[in-house]
């Protein structure tokens, strides 16, 4: 039987052992033994598995540092990052997307040195990505790839109505959509309050008609223009003649479900639909393809969503965390990691423009091509809290949604303009 004295001795020893690393760390004597990264879990399970089962053990073998991975469910990373930034605690390395390096500028470490080295070794960075990760001339995050939003469509049904090649312009897509809806295969583009598949086609649509939310200066609201009116008019027609009412309330899961349930013939999405189709619905996978967003009178655009890793300023050993990033972004590691991702992420390094990851499945190639015409949300306006506010308040989405449900073009633009003026504190 354990005596009280024995119990106390064991308890004290256990407590001391548990506290020892913290106490040593506080005294600045400890060497880093663990690092943790937190990211939104990848839609491609193999991408996460490769990090956990291959890269992390390799790094531990090399340096003795154990690298942990905390997965956050899709759509929840911004909340997690906000909590980390506010409490100044949590994983040392975080995943970022969209314009988050701007939002969290104050708590992110300057990683220009690492980004510079990586860029030099791997052919240089695509210029456009710098719009979202370089804040006040400092790299606050290092991108590994873009999650593109493109047109996903059923080749067999398009052929049925005589469309053998995906339409080049929005007007041609509308014409095809009319025929497909008549055949019982409507389009299904998200117009509700999701977080990606709505903005994924609405910003490109606005831009391709020449419309803009705000100017580069971040003070001049530009939404009230004839170009925006044309985009709104087109959107209403596009919705009424090719889709059905439910898309107005869709969030990001609905279009995937509807496409895989063979309810729609075309949508705007990442490559996840094809990934799932190939895995779970092979017959649908065979007749699914991707295409660039159609052109409007003022060009062709796509939405930028750069996935990156950033280093938190509260990290106790920033040098160790940077060393890990340096190792991870080295071609030996990054190349294999991207390949494990099944081309879901289009890398921003020119050295990977012809990476073998693009070979196995040519249907992913449009995602690579789309980088050239990708722009961040609210472009050409500055990326900052005002841009986030506009996106979070669904200003653009609701402008189009209200027009689709029947409100006048003039009214919906006036409402959006008033909201944007308030957000950008413009007169």
């Amino acid at each position: 039987m354990t005596t009280r004295r024995e119990f106390l001795t064991v308890s004290l020893a256990a407590t001391s052992a548990a506290l020892a690393p913290r106490l040593a760390g506080a005294a600045g004597k400890a060497t880093t033994k663990t690092l943790t990264t937190v990211r939104e879990s990848s839609f491609i399970k193999a991408f996460d598995d490769f990090f956990v089962k291959t890269l992390a053990p390799e790094y531990e073998k090399l340096t003795g540092i154990k690298v942990g991975y905390e997965a956050v469910s899709v759509g929840g990373m911004l909340t997690r990052l906000t909590t980390m930034a506010e409490t100044k605690s949590g994983p040392e390395i975080t995943g970022t997307g969209l314009n988050w390096p701007y939002l969290f500028d104050n708590v992110l470490v300057d990683v220009s040195d690492v980004a510079g080295e990586v860029g030099k070794k791997l052919g240089g960075w695509h210029e456009i990505v710098q719009d979202v990760v370089v804040v006040n001339k400092k790299w606050k995050a290092i991108p590994w790839g873009n999650i593109g939003q493109l047109e996903v469509y059923r080749t067999d049904w398009f052929k049925e109505v005589g469309v053998t090649k995906f339409p080049e312009t929005w007007e041609d897509l509308l014409a095809a959509g009319r025929l497909l809806k008549k055949k019982g295969h409507p389009f299904g583009f998200e117009i509700g309050h999701g977080f990606g598949d709505n903005h994924g086609w609405m910003y490109p649509l606005l831009w391709s008609y020449g419309g803009r939310e705000v100017d580069k200066d971040g003070k001049t609201v530009l939404i009230d223009s004839s170009e925006t009116a044309k985009a709104v008019d087109f959107c209403r027609k596009f919705y009424q003649e090719t889709m059905f009412e439910d898309v107005l309330g869709w969030t990001d899961v609905n279009n995937n479900k509807a496409f895989l349930g063979e309810q729609i013939s075309c949508t705007n999405n990442a490559s996840s639909i094809l990934v799932v189709a190939k895995r779970d619905f092979p017959e649908i996978g065979k007749v699914t393809d991707h295409a660039l967003n159609p052109q409007g009178p003022k060009g062709r655009y796509h939405l930028l969503n750069a996935q990156s890793l950033a280093l938190l300023s509260y990290a106790p050993d920033q040098a160790a965390a940077k060393a890990f990033l340096r190792w991870l972004y080295d071609d030996k590691q990054m190349s294999r990691w991207l390949a494990a991702g099944d081309a879901y992420y289009a890398p921003f390094l020119h050295g990977y423009d012809n990476h073998p990851m693009w070979q196995p499945e040519p249907r992913y190639m449009p995602f690579k091509e789309s980088l050239k015409t990708s722009r961040p949300h609210t472009w050409p306006g500055p990326q900052g809290t005002a841009a986030s506010e506009s996106v979070a308040k669904y200003v653009l989405v609701d402008m189009f949604a209200k027009a689709c449900r029947g409100d006048s073009t003039k009214d919906v633009i006036a409402t959006a303009a008033a909201q944007l003026k308030q957000i950008y504190k413009a007169k």
Binding site: T82, F104, H193, D246, G249, T251, N254, K257, G261, A401
Partner: protein
């Protein structure tokens, strides 16, 4: 001989005698505070502190990861000029008012039925509680399927029953989306009313009903003049709780519509989350969340005063 109340408290220690820990714990005043302390500390840490911090935040222009700037009531002034804020306010009141009425009437009916004696009563009681027991996130996923235009069982039944020719867009149509949320909230919240009111009904002495029956009271009269007055305090308390919970409802709306289409179903909690978390405007987000406070305060104070008078 009259017997006075027995006091279980020990007398105060006699002067000069040493105060022992055991003696101290035996004192009613000390012991009761000791028992209350965990609860009070919990409330202070997880209710009072966030509440007052929320008020403080609402007075700041506070963007995520930056120090705040005191702006007084500027956030509230900005909200007052925002058309979406007023739409959200209207949505919230509509959602709370209608769900409360439905839950109250439905819950009362449920309690009256469950108060009867019939075979399988216990099974029915357990089944009726299910919506309240199942985690909201899970039941909401089920409702996503039920309300899906393509896969909806409701649409399937209506179409195959010859009621309609094509399915309704339960979450895509602005009016139907709000009504759909009201139905789901009512489905989830009604058992809370039902089970609480059932507890109230079971305290009513059968003598009262017998006396009323002898006086020739009809069923409706027995309900109006016996049942209702007795359970009124429970009714008020349960309504107060329900209104508070419904005002702060988040999961259900966020999962089903995320406030769409075109803000038609945004309520204070979902809008505050979007502004605070997605836009990084913590001060403004707190101001939106606090906007529901005056209405709640008036309701709670009003109902409490009414209860005390009763």
């Amino acid at each position: 001989m009259a017997v006075g109340p027995v006091t279980i408290a020990r007398p105060a220690p006699v002067e000069g005698r040493p105060v022992t820990l055991r003696g101290l714990l035996e004192r009613e005043g000390v012991f009761s505070w000791l028992m209350l302390a965990p609860g009070i500390l919990f409330l202070l840490a997880f209710v009072a502190y966030p509440f007052f911090y929320g008020i403080y935040l609402s007075l700041l222009e506070r963007r995520v990861a930056t120090p705040g700037i005191f702006v007084g009531l500027a956030n509230f002034r900005t909200l007052a000029h925002d058309a979406v804020f007023w739409q959200v306010t209207g949505n919230t009141f509509k959602y709370v008012a209608l769900t409360t009425v439905f839950k109250l009437t439905g819950g009362l009916g449920m309690a009256l039925v469950m108060n009867q004696h019939f075979r399988g009563k216990n099974l029915v009681r357990a089944a009726l509680l299910l919506p309240f027991i199942v985690p909201t996130a899970l039941s909401t996923v089920a409702w996503m399927w039920i309300l899906d235009p393509t896969f909806s069982i409701v649409n399937w039944l209506l179409v195959h029953g010859g009621v309609i020719t094509s399915g309704y867009s339960w979450l895509g149509n602005a009016s139907l989306a709000m009504w759909s949320l009201i139905v789901v909230n009512t489905w989830r919240g009604m058992p809370f009313y039902g089970i609480t009111l059932l507890a109230g009904l079971q305290t009513i002495s059968p003598d009262l009903y017998e006396a009323a029956a002898i006086d020739g009271a009809t069923t409706a009269q027995r309900f109006l003049y016996v049942t209702l007055p007795v359970i009124k305090p429970v009714l008020i308390i349960v309504t107060m709780f329900s209104v508070i919970f419904t005002f702060g409802d988040f999961q259900l709306i966020y999962a089903l519509t995320h406030g769409g289409p075109a803000n038609a179903t945004h309520v204070f909690s979902t809008w505050a989350f979007d502004i605070g978390m997605s836009a990084g405007l913590l001060g403004m987000g707190a101001a939106v969340a606090l906007a529901m406070l005056p209405a709640l305060a008036v309701l709670i104070v009003g109902l409490t005063i009414y209860l005390r008078r009763e």
